[in-house]
Amino acid sequence: MKAINSLILVLALIVIAMLGAGALGIEYLFGVIIPYLAVFIFIVGFITKMVGWGKSAVPFRIPTTCGQATKSLPMFKDKWSRLDNPGTKLGTIGRMFLEVVLFRSLFRNTRVELHPGQYIAYSSSKWLWIFALIFHYTFLIIVIRHLRFFTEPIPGVIVFLDQVDSMLQILVPPLFISSALILVALGYLLLRRFFVPSMRYISQPADYVPLFLIISIVVSGMLMRYVGPFKTDLMPVKELAMGLVQFSPTVPEGIGLTFYVHFFLFSVLLMYFPFSKLMHMGGVFLSPTRNLPNDSREKHHPNPWNYPVKLHTYEDYENDFREKMVEADLPVEKPLEEMAEETSENDEKKE
């Protein structure tokens, strides 16, 4: 149900683009206004979210330590653990690098199986890690590849990336490996939500919407490149893109409808981004269990909102138990006699 609703939502977006840019002919809205708005919302939304997180305090050092502490006796130092339990800033940068670039924690993933005869097995389970890596990196490559539309002359790096990505030389024009791989990865990410019962149980529309949205973006892009009736002349598309980056937008004639669908869906993705789970892209950098060094016994880290609290002092304690303490030969600050005198003095004063 959640998946169907999400799919309907994305299909509705496609219809909106088709009606708007096609039947109603308001190409300017879909080619210029919405994309500008989307970029604006993305940038402002992203920054606002990051600043919002950044403003929230970090009262305690709570790294999740995933290896032997490096700040321990020299006899226990283990040079590999400094990346899983760093004690220094440099080590923490290393840990974050592995986390962000190689998805270190996901690499640890295991799968639990309960077998008959009370035997529990844990097996390494790297599929999620592999497909997550494929998805993120192919997405990155595709985004970089698209910069060819927004640059003139096209930087050598992008031309080179294009050549490498299409080096298999199958289909005409040659198939981009990244496009094929991203579909495979997205398929995996989607199908596990359909078919793994626990995944189906925890999945929300907020998980299906971005998947359907990105799949639709990829498919519409591929249709424009490979499939006869959808093929789009790239010259006017480039003209539109260059107009946008040079802030002199024009909407040239002869851009196919598929392009507007593609462009609109991507605009929606940008607008949706700051308000969604996709913000994990920024949030991962601010996660206190990962981005703090494990040095909280060595260095003092003040809590910015630390405040005085009500305490039960030793004096309160001794007052409570003095007699018993004296009886048990435990040392006391105030002997019993003094107490007795004080009480009688107090009594006298009262009188």
Binding site: A69, L73, V112, I120, V196, R290
Partner: protein
């Protein structure tokens, strides 16, 4: 409620969730899985809100009139006070990596014990009541209204999380359910929704200095009683000091070690060690009856109560004028000391950077907090051959080591206990890698959940640990499960009795106490438990 036999319980575990949307699955508070409600008295004693008699099985939880506003404004406040909370509310992608990492999920199959879903219980309220998207789109944006039933569900499942952080190891963004549970429980405590097994020890600790409510004279009596036993076994009577002003070092350990078997044997180990250090090296360590608790049940209640209970350690160290503090074997105690104490109640400038008076080793990594773990202190002594040990006295033990959640995932205290164990026993075997070190499993009763009435969920949660012990028992004949945590010693004992009755539980310092040769001691016939030492069995 009687709990079913282990094989029946095991057979009935199903990891298949229902087909219904989880938000529509009605809450059922199952006996055996929840803890009794906190009585009003302990809440009153520490000044927590809404003290009253209530019962989780009743419809009416006697919530204060404005309970909903209290929770929502409490959430808003904590979103700004804890970046962890704010980020963790926003960035989960529900990838499911954490789902089968929780011991309570593995053992119970209850899908709301998957960390991701336990977090969603609160996250859905955050979305539905606080974020704009959730307020407008409701369920489609994963939001829901905070109703009494939602609150009850959060209560039920947030007291089925032992704050062990295993999920956090596997999360690609480091989302830590422990952190969410800690804050969730803090919100529940705004409404007086604590459990008895946490509220009472916390109040006891506030008044008497320890969770068990042991008063000063009784505390001393108990230690004297251990000294009697030690004298009987070794012929030598340790002479510990209490509340001694001008002592060089203060020792603080969880009070469970003073009160409950088999922790008491660990406590005897400390006493033997301290006597040895005093006789051989003149090291003057004192115990405090005021700061007689290493553990901190405030940590399971609220950040504020944690700070109030923890403050005693530094106050007492200052009053007695010691150089630095030595801490006993305990799990969550050490997380509080390592990650919270200095920021809450430090820095203690009146103390010195810990230096071992015997080896001269400077514990630079504790330079600010000025408190070191007895296991690292002893490891250093052993490294420098400062202890005379007879390993063979532990030859009847075939030992494996259970990493406690907090020392492993909150400190990275992994090699220290292994080093000490290997110095005092000849037969040590590791459990499978996926169940130890940073991937270790909870004992099933951490974070204040070691009550009697929730036995079923404790045995379920203990299953992954018990099963890993089973594997080394079957392969290597392991008969002893060592650990460095007082809650482990209590919880694992019951848990092993249920799943693997032929394996015992011991603290590391019990083994140290057995192996350590006191100057002038008589030939020992028994270990600290009064059982014949290896080779002495025939003499009976």
């Amino acid at each position: 409620m009687a709990i079913s036999k282990p094989d029946v319980l095991y057979r009935n575990i199903s990891h298949k969730p229902p087909e219904t949307n989880w938000m529509d699955v009605p809450l059922e508070i199952k006996p055996g899985r929840y803890c009794y409600a906190a009585d009003p008295e302990p809440l009153e004693y520490v000044g927590m809100p809404n003290p009253r008699k209530w019962n989780p099985l009743d419809d009416d939880w006697k919530l204060p009139e404005n309970w909903k506003e209290t929770v929502i404004s409490g959430m808003k406040e904590r979103l700004e006070k804890f970046r962890s909370f704010k980020v963790f509310m926003d960035i989960c992608v529900r990838c499911g990596a954490c789902a089968d990492k929780c011991h309570y999920f593995i053992g119970s199959g209850d899908p709301k014990n998957m960390p991701v879903l336990r977090a969603e219980l609160l996250r859905s309220v955050y979305r539905g009541e606080i974020t704009k998207a959730g307020q407008i789109l409701g369920r489609f944006a994963g939001g829901r209204e905070l109703t009494e039933n939602v609150l009850k569900e959060i209560w039920y499942y947030y007291y089925q999380c032992s704050e062990c952080r295993r999920c956090s190891v596997f999360c690609p963004y480091g989302i830590d359910q422990a952190e969410i549970t800690i804050i969730g429980r803090e919100l529940l405590n705004l409404l007086g929704l604590n459990i008895d097994w946490i509220a009472k020890p916390a109040a006891n600790c506030y008044r008497t200095g320890n969770h068990l409510g042991i008063q000063p004279h009784a505390f001393k009596d108990m230690i004297d009683f251990f000294c009697d036993d030690i004298e009987e076994i070794t012929g030598i009577r340790p002479e510990p000091t209490f509340n001694k002003k001008g002592a060089d070092y203060l020792f603080i350990t969880p009070s469970g070690d003073v009160f409950a078997d088999p922790g008491t044997y660990t406590c005897m180990g400390y006493l033997i060690l301290f006597h040895y250090l005093k006789e051989e090296y003149g090291m003057d360590i004192t115990w405090s009856t005021y700061a007689s608790e290493g553990g901190n049940f405030g940590f399971f209640t609220s950040h504020e109560l944690m700070k109030r209970l923890n403050a005693k350690m530094y106050m007492e160290a200052k009053r007695l004028g010691v150089k630095w503090i030595l801490g006993g074997e305990c799990g969550h105690m050490w997380r509080v000391l390592h990650q919270y104490m200095d920021s809450m109640n430090g820095p203690p400038d009146f103390l010195e950077v810990p230096v071992s008076p015997i080896t001269g080793t400077r514990f630079q990594h504790a330079a600010s907090t000025k408190m070191i773990h007895i296991v690292e202190f002893v490891a250093d002594l052993m490294k420098h051959n400062k202890l005379r040990l007879d390993k063979s006295r532990n030859d009847n033990l075939r030992v494996t080591f259970h990493d406690s959640c907090n020392p492993s995932r909150g400190l990275g205290f992994l090699e220290e206990p292994r080093y000490v164990i290997n110095k005092v026993c000849n037969n040590f075997f590791e459990m499978p890698l996926e169940t130890i070190r940073e991937q270790t499993f909870c004992c099933g009763g951490g974070s204040g959940l070691n009550a009697g009435e929730n036995e079923e969920i404790r045995m379920m949660g203990g299953l992954p640990r018990a099963n890993a012990v089973k594997s080394v028992r079957d392969r290597h004949g392991v008969n002893m499960l060592a650990n460095i945590c007082a809650i482990d010693r209590a919880t694992l004992s019951a848990m092993m009795a249920y799943w693997q009755p032929d394996v015992g539980v011991t603290g590391v310092h019990e083994m140290v106490g057995n192996a350590l040769i006191l100057p002038g001691e008589q030939e020992r016939e028994t270990d600290l438990r009064g059982e014949p030492l290896p080779g002495k069995e025939e003499d009976e």
